[in-house]
Symmetry: C2
Subunit: 228 residues, 2 copies
DNA sequence: TTCAACATGATTGTCGACATTTTTGTTGTC
DNA sequence: GACAACAAAAATGTCGACAATCATGTTGAA
């Protein structure tokens, strides 16, 4: 998912992308078993490549691999959910600080171009593109900050956020729409770091507040482990 | 490295461990090329397993893989170094909060047992064991906090910290000795969260302050990219 | 009827061989 | 002598087949 410039140029990233989108669109529910051969057949690739993709998804926290058992869509608990959002706020704040401190001339036009894509996808009701572009906006901010570490860290957190939102959302996904992103761009253009930080904080808290993090959803795999 | 209970039970983790230790001991310097066949020969394993290990190390940020070019020991810049320490402080703080909020009866004895191992390794001058156990203490705290997410995140950050320390340290490694860990255990036993947080903060800042983060070290790979 | 041991099927894990790409060394020409 | 094109070598990337492991269904005896 969200492959950046240098890393994962391979075609395995495409498998990741499609699996991730299926998760984001709730076509693949948490706990679902992902059989390698089956995926290889669906995507018309070798099993080795599926394996490779699953390993990537595991490091992103999207799937859980049990040795000799198989891969499953992860089922993060509420504690993990809170931790993820907690650190996402921290990372995104750091991103804004770095971005403001050393902003490139091309940053604003790039952000606006991305925003235009978001609005277009939103207008034509393309939820798949909307989901991807929505996360992509935050990731673009990280890339523009110039820190590869922040970028890869945030990519991980965004993936996890999407899965968590899928599991615990109360109403509609909402998924941070273009309007709030437009506000962020305005603050960045105005070199208003405190304002941007506040907006980002509100933005992310808003997403978290839409979730029902009062109790864990039943975890299938734990049943198994419980009766050992 | 630092393999926790469930994840990476495979023998590939052993390759990671040995490569990581070689990096930590400065036997493998940043920028060093890691040829797959060569590693396979040294460790007497198949090349596929080496490949697997290198992929893990890449996700930990310890090696950088350039497609069709090979794997190299990573060379984090000063900005990345600061980001890593910044988030390590955040994560370790969160770990302490979770640990204090929901502490198990066996936590203190486990920590003390680990501390004993650290002191023993330190006493007999076993730097290899000292390095591993030193990071292991922090990782044990994360495991005791009960959060798999914090644990995996911190493992990543500790690996990166070690590499960064290797690159930018001014004097001796220091590498957070057992004494400071003993202080942390005392605060935890006393249920003194603010005190523990302060100690951890000082502890980590102390490590960072020992580094010379004023300028990037010359990056070999950039020379190549520069003359494109 | 129940439980345990076993046999079968399905699925994951591993390895070696081959294809592709990059790098290095050479040759030939200007 | 320098440079470009080409050829050879080395390294990485990919794939298919086999081995090991786990889940399931069956059979047998208590």
């Amino acid at each position: 998912m969200y492959q950046n410039k240098e890393a994962t140029p391979g075609p395995a990233a495409e498998i990741c992308e499609r699996i991730w989108l299926s998760i984001a669109e709730r076509k693949l529910r948490p706990g679902t078993r992902l059989k390698e051969e089956q995926l290889a057949e669906v995507f018309e690739v070798s099993r080795a490549r599926v394996r490779q993709a699953l390993a990537m998804l595991e490091s992103d926290g999207l799937v859980t691999i049990l040795p000799n058992r198989g891969a499953f869509v992860s089922e993060p608990g509420v504690d993990e959910a809170r931790d993820v959002f907690h650190f996402r706020r921290q990372v995104e704040a750091r991103v804004l600080e770095r971005l403001m401190a050393n902003i490139a001339d091309t940053a604003i036009p790039q952000l606006e171009a991305h925003l235009a894509l978001e609005r277009e996808a939103d207008a034509r009701g393309d939820t798949t593109a909307t989901i991807r572009l929505s996360g992509g906006f935050h990731l673009l901010l990280a890339e523009l900050s110039g820190s590869g570490f922040l970028t890869s860290t945030l990519r991980d957190l965004i993936s996890r956020s999407t899965l968590i939102t899928t599991m615990y959302r109360r109403h509609s996904h909402h998924n941070c729409g273009p309007d709030e992103h437009a506000g962020l761009i305005a603050r960045i253009r105005a070199r208003d770091l405190p304002g941007a930080l506040r907006l980002m904080e509100d933005h992310l808290r808003h997403v978290e507040d839409e979730l029902d993090l009062t109790e864990d959803v039943p975890v299938l795999r734990d049943l198994r482990d419980a009766l050992v």
